[in-house]
Amino acid sequence: MAEAILSVSDIHKSFGALKASDGISLDLFPGEIHALIGPNGAGKSTLIKQIAGGLKPDSGRVHFCGQDVTTLNVPERARMGLARTFQISALAMSFTVLENVMLGCVGEARGVFSFFRPVMTHPGLLKRAHAALDRVALRDFADVTTSELSHGQRRQLEVAVALTLNPTAFLMDEPMAGLGAEGSKALTDLLAELKQEAPILLVEHDMDAVFALADRISVLVYGKIIATGSVDDIRSNADVRSAYLGEEDEA
């Protein structure tokens, strides 16, 4: 097997008595979508945060692109190409759609300390920004203020901003949440395409999307991964059914 682009080894994180990450290890290989599923409060977002660098694990390591990044902060990991989308949209709401994407381009180009040149007419950055908007079909909304976007469009914009980073790997926390059937379908298609460029660690509650997209699935319950395997493995795994999929049926 090829070398993992991202690998987490034996991550522990407690909030008081609560073990949000209880010895988690997982890998993300080139070209794959690795779905991370689990009930509410299982610790999925907490794990994503630790991989992105926003939360320090109590113990354990994170390797990215063959480098130990455990001590690097969020912007340092982002500049290595670790792109992240948030469970709750994290966008500059009074920026236009284009400005949000340009912010990503500026970060990617390490062009922050340019004080005099108007950024919104910079041809190179604009080209990147428009290309990212094209991929999520938001080009026509470039000049709309972000706060005026629908929920679904904000999710798309999150993905567009992540795309500007020229990603080596994606961390996506419930990108489908709150999208209608049509929106989920469009995003499912996009993710299937994106994984060729950079593998995706996908946290998702939408089981149709997960079963359609995932090459591998890991199931997280109470901070522990109880199973990792192919879609079929997970579907037929008795522990998973009782711990997680069973709950879905009851709900």
Binding site: P75, E76, R84, F86, A90, F95, L103, V161
Partner: protein, 328 residues
Amino acid sequence: MLPERLLNAVILLTLLAVPLAALALDEPFIITLATKVTILALAGVGLNLALGQGGLVSFGHAAYFGLGGYAMGILASHAQSFTPLMEVPFLIEGTKSMPVIWITAIIVSSLAALLIGALSLRTSGVYFIMVTLAFGQMFYYFAISWPAYGGEDGLSIYVRNGFPGLNTLVPIQFFGICFVLLCVVLFFVSRLNRSAFGLALDGAHQHSERALTVGININRVRLVAFVISGGITGLAGALFADLNRFVSPTMFSWHTSGEIMIFIILGGVARICGPIAGAAAYIILEHYLGDVSEYWQVYLGFILLFVVLFAKGGIVGALTGSRGKAHG
């Protein structure tokens, strides 16, 4: 409703027209008031970069204003007494040259902002406000207790400092200097707001996690903005001292920090010409309400309350009816 660009032009032209009219009508005091507005507006433009664009609510910008003032006072007092500032390890003489004083004021206040920013930007919210306030007060007490430069009584400079080719003692000429400096700084700040740096600063203000996640080191961005902000307010301090031909620890006091903040809130937070409108409104109120009642600040309090509750965009926001902030 006016487009903001047009309103900015109106604001600047009015600021220019009033002293010119006063000159024609032989009202030198009005020229002095307009000069004061111009200088205080410049201090506000400095703070607005940190507070408005960057969301860094500094309650200690009097430190930079005062350092600019004392840079002028110290250099000019040595020049007028013909004693050097220091002789070892190398000779530094006083000066009466405005450009040299300005550059000194900018450097000193930027360095102070670098130091204070590096320490205070680790905190946020109300802690940041308190830490910046505390630093400002440190300078205040230091100035009071440092007898070499007048201590509590401050320092008087007998003749206004000079600018090559101009007679700075003529009120309209000194106004001209201040007005041109304000315009130059406004030009640079408006370019900065539209630059990649401005986008990053604003983005970090609106959603810090968003900016971090695209690889922007927001601490560094904020520190640089803070330094530029302090430098601009320091320049204003040097001009203010020259206007009054006097510096005193009052320039360092937290009242001064509060006043600079009031210009911004009155005029419109994060609006490029907000501090001009705000400083003008403040000086007009102080001057005319101050004549009517000793307690004019009570009225000011009501006006501020009204702005904060009902007209968050301040004067500029009310006249343009927009939320402003364009990077295009």
